[in-house]
Amino acid sequence: MYLYNDFDQTLVNERVEQFRNQTTRFLNGDLTEEQFRPLRLMNGLYIQTHAPMLRVNIPYGVLSSKQMRMFAHISTQYDKSYGHFTTRQNIQFNWPKLESVPDILADLASVQMHAIQSSGNCIRNITCDPLAGVCADELEDPRPYCEIIRQWSTLHPEFSYLPRKFKIAVSGSPKDRAATQVHDIGLHMRRDNNGNMGFEVLVGGGLGRTPIIGQTLSPFIFEKDVLSYLEAILRIYNRFGRRDNKYKARIKILVREIGLETFREQVEAEWHCIKGGELTLESKQIEHIKQRFQVLDYHTDSSDKVLTEHLSSDAKFKAWFEQNTLTHKQNGYRIAFISLKAPNQAPGDITDKQMNIVADLAEQYSFGLIRTTHDQNLALTDIKSDDLYSLWQQLQQHNLATANIGTITDMICCPGLDFCSLANASSIDIAQGITQRFTNTATEIGDISLKMSGCMNGCGHHSIGEIGILGVDKKGEQWYQLTLGGSDSHQSKLGDRLGKAIAKADVVDAIDNIVNVYKDNRHDGEVFSATLKRIGLDPYKERVYGSH
């Protein structure tokens, strides 16, 4: 991971002091709520249904054991002994007191962390492939580039009062595991015919009320020009993005209203003025950032002997191995996912004790590094194959070995009515109902991405779930709208509406029916989306609505 130097540390320390001062002034009545609002948001602090919520950045989803222990400490000391990992690879604490937030930020700064711009109308945490650096299909590790963009966007003087929030994701592999097509800007690393590194730039994607798949703004921008190109896009958006209606203020609406061509012309004209200027990245600057990342010292002599023995002797371990681990680019190593979707647990939640355990295990087996994923799980990405069995045994003792990665019980779900004041309907209890129904059959059913949001703001990404569930309000009652066939993988796609909304009590049965249609119709080895594509929506509709 990236290690701070004195400069980075000074900046976060100064930021903590700034916020301490602002909080004091707010509590003394010298700042109005309206004036304080953007200041607290740009330090990650929301005011929610029950209490403030603090969102802390995990830059591109990589954290150290030491940082994880600090999360545990914060949740014990200032919260209710748990934290919640989000779909943008960050962590949220749901119960801190406003007065303690400056102290929490100071604690975070002591381990090279912060909550800068984790909320507010500014450039948010840069996200990337959770398997960056360890997956075999990678063109280039995107993390140093994420760090370069993180630095450029941090406390950016010009882009801190944008029309709306702004999210950037970077992918370094042909297979998009960073959902770049549903970000305000998506960057895909590419090489041109001469071997130069650069980016394809997508713009205007996003979920929420108006889900839109991003379009290619430029097929190739040289790496040296990426910051000036981003600056040109942001400047056009800042100047011309709508500010009259917050639901129409994202860049996707600007691009849609003026058209991609016009938007591109404006960006190109702006870029023409600043290209080659002070934002140009010299190769030695890029190299310098790359060198600030730890190099992992892999053992090249590992074998899979111990692993093979355990796989044949322990069926439960084998099931976990097959569902929760992946091939590593380095022979003798594997990527292990830690599911935060155990039964009776809100998706993405983790207790302070579990955080400490994960920190210890990472130190013991995985270079002291932990990843957060877009699916609200964790990953230890560098496990020697022969250590997998003992890792699994320890994970099991702490309810961290649920073998359901990628299955229907590994769902994404927003906090919903339990925590969010905007919600139309609850999501956590539905999630639990689904988990109960499918716990024993999930792996046998196969991979299905189920995503659920408590309102049309879509924080649970329902519109790109293979099965999407959206909470709607019908005369004060909680109802749920289902969609099928969404995707966030390489070809992102929005799901199609199945039919009219379904009453709360019937949602789990409806999901069961959908799964059964798939099971009844699938050909050998056929995945959920392929069956759906082949047979169409009708059989699903008939089964779900026919039975009501």
Partner: protein, 147 residues
């Protein structure tokens, strides 16, 4: 009203817009007035100031930019970030060398960002706000963006 220029509280040599836009040797005009009375204004030999709204289209006056000693940008609401891009464009893209002043809903907590995009003068409601602004301007020593 209190004016901060180049990180100091100072007096204002320009006419007070609240009372009159003209004083001996200086005049402040709106973009429309400039377009209408351009020739006269140039002939008057006075030093010229221009007021702009944050969302104003500036293409028509850009080639005259050198004729002004002052550009005032009115920030209607502190949450409206367009003023930042406007100032940045004037200062860095079009190389405006005169004073760029922020007026309107200017908050001490935004002062540092404003000065980093090209504003060199900030108009605050009173001395108390101006004093606080000076403190906030000194709050950071490390910046990631080139300046």
């Amino acid at each position: 009203m209190a004016l901060i220029k180049n990180k100091q509280i100072c007096s204002d040599g320009w006419p007070n817009l609240k009372t009159s836009a003209t004083s001996a040797g200086r005049v402040i005009v709106s973009h429309d007035e400039w377009l209408k009375n351009k020739d006269e204004l140039i002939l008057s030999g006075k030093r010229l100031g221009l007021t702009l709204e944050a969302d104003e289209k500036i293409d028509e006056f850009l080639h005259d930019i050198g004729k002004f000693s002052l550009i005032i940008i009115n920030i209607a609401s502190f949450a409206d970030g367009r003023a930042y891009s406007l100032a940045k464009t004037l200062r860095f893209t079009h190389q405006f060398k005169g004073e760029i002043r922020a007026i309107g809903d200017v908050l001490p907590d935004q002062a540092l960002y404003l000065t980093r995009v090209g504003f060199d003068a900030l108009q605050l409601p009173d001395n108390k706000a101006a004093e606080l602004t000076l403190q906030t301007l000194a709050g950071f020593s490390a910046f990631y963006q080139p300046n």
